[in-house]
Symmetry: C2
Subunit: 354 residues, 2 copies
């Protein structure tokens, strides 16, 4: 039996690539509308107020921790949260998603953006949330911070709202790629500073969400997303070495050969690929995170167990963080999330030899 | 220089796997709102009327043929068109997409479905459209018919409308898979009859659109989509041998190993994978179709040429049908479609050795 190699929490050790006593687990969109306790807040408090008020963000971050004891606690926030610090105001319309008042569409708009400068001044609630969570969780789980990648935030700020084909952004990519590159460059610097701030406030692992990578062909991903995410990671590593970074791309199934080239400590996988193939392409020397289809959580314990055990086995006993391949869906029974976490806690038994 | 091996049109010969004088081309959603001539109809005639009136469907099918002379002419129709023949009524709401009045949600509803029986009686406009198109095109291009796959039509009829997570269908899959399998079985028989009718009416190649395959993990695709599509193809081949069948799955990037197992003559690729990887996994002995990102058509001739030539080179001089990886997007300049088709006509020069 393998025992803990240090006093660091399990998920942090596995993110670093260490051999561990079992597979750790957390779930994307861990705090969310599938929880009745969450809906008490979301039904009454506007989106930005609940993600930008530390006391509320702390409470919401801890709800799933208190209910399911996952190995990772992720701060409740949004990938768009840092945008107002750069001069990009946004709101979230219930049932419709984010709206940016003044989408960024030309070079002048890019030039007018503010630098991040001091995140502690502009986004103090993020620091307060992380500092308090680190104390509350008290080493019993790993505290995760996160950002949206430069590509994903660029596409949001150009579109101004979710758009099926990302048409404004893709048109800019085809006609005026220099504007897109300038915006990506600006976001890269700002996001690196924001990650450093999250680490200094207590985040032990930071995930880069490339939520809109599915809008990119592999060639476009190689030019417009991966290099900027790499620059963020390089800048963070130079200033705060040793903090594991997770890169998760939605729509990554056709991009595994490129993801393999990433320097991220952990590669997050969506559920549109098999863990087996991802492991074969990306290799056994990288920690993989994922990748159960979240709709499996609508099934009974037998259905959930079959899907999770297949994922665990295909990933192998080392270098795997169990997760869903996309956020938990509204309407998911809360007890399913408990079953999911319990299966990770029992994962060592799957790999015991007779 | 290779010359035509028979009097059959180019695309048909390449779909069969024959060596040919150049790469053929057509575009998905070839007739559509990107064309001003199309909008004259779509702005005034309701969706079902224009897809179920032979004279209009013929006119719309021929618009891109007259404008761009692609190597394939696909009948203007919809994947939902056969559903009313089975007792499933639908309408298409402008700007919102299809709506099915009574979604199929239980075993009784599946049992009440009609068999296809005689498509010539129930869907005579499809036969008339194909017969006329075959005459009009007169061997200068290949006439394509199409269907939605059993999975895609099952998901549509269970959801009743586009739903982000396909939640009703996936819940049924997790909780009552026997109902889903019964519905898939019913659709499989009906669709095989419908394909045979399309062939008898003049279709020289038939494409199976698995438009909602992105809602399936590879395991789910292997259980709920691929085997039913295979049964359709097997039934068609037994009755009308020698007609090439194309299988196109949206969200196929993580499913190439499974697509390789398909017996389809042609595998259609979406644009979220690289043609190079698809060719490596699926092999050089299968005709591949695709897979240029349709947003490339918003770029200038240089941008379009670079993307198309990369695709052509990665696919190789044999067994490739040039296409976009997803339907042409509204707002696409018409001249871009012309440039796209011209590049296929010049494709032989790419492969000439000094």
């Amino acid at each position: 039996m393998i025992t803990a190699s240090s006093t660091d929490p399990l998920l942090l050790r596995v993110a670093r690539g260490e051999q561990a006593e079992r597979t750790p687990v957390w779930l994307m969109r861990q705090a969310g509308r599938y929880m009745a306790d969450f809906r008490k807040f979301s039904d009454t408090i506007p989106f930005r107020e609940r993600s930008e008020t530390a006391s509320i963000a702390i409470e919401l971050s801890l709800q799933p921790w208190n209910a399911f004891q996952p190995d990772g606690v992720i701060m409740f926030s949004d990938i768009l949260t840092p945008l107002p610090a750069l001069g990009i105001e946004f709101d979230v319309i219930k049932g419709k998603g984010p709206r940016i008042d003044a989408p960024i569409r030309d070079m002048d708009a890019v030039r007018r953006l503010n630098p991040m400068e001091d995140p502690a001044l502009k986004l103090p609630f993020v620091g307060e949330t992380l500092r308090t969570l680190r104390q509350e969780v008290d080493g019993q789980a790993t505290l995760l911070g996160f950002i949206g990648t430069p590509w994903t935030l660029a596409a949001y700020t150009i579109e101004g709202k979710a758009e099926r084909n990302c048409r404004a952004t893709k048109t800019m990519m085809m006609k005026q790629p220099q504007i897109l590159h300038a915006l990506l460059g600006h976001l890269t610097h700002a996001l690196a500073d924001y990650v450093v701030y999250q680490i200094d406030s207590g985040a032990q692992v930071v995930q880069l969400f490339d939520s809109w990578a599915h809008h990119l062909s592999p060639d476009q991903f190689e030019e417009f997303s991966l290099p900027y995410a790499e620059k963020v990671m390089e800048s963070v590593r130079a200033r705060r070495p040793g903090v594991p970074l997770i890169f998760h791309a939605n729509g990554g199934a056709g991009k595994h050969e490129l993801l393999k080239l990433s320097t991220a400590d952990v590669i997050g996988l969506d559920w549109e690929c098999s863990m087996k193939n991802a492991r074969a392409v990306i290799g056994s020397d990288r920690t993989l995170q994922g990748n159960v289809d979240p709709t499996v959580l609508f099934g009974d314990e037998k259905v959930i167990t079959a899907a999770v055990e297949k994922c665990l086995k295909e990933a192998g006993p080392r270098r795997h963080i169990l997760n869903v391949g996309h956020g938990v869906i509204e309407g998911t029974p809360e007890e399913s999330v408990g079953i999911f976490c319990d299966l990770a806690r029992k994962s060592a038994s799957l790999f015991q030899t007779a």
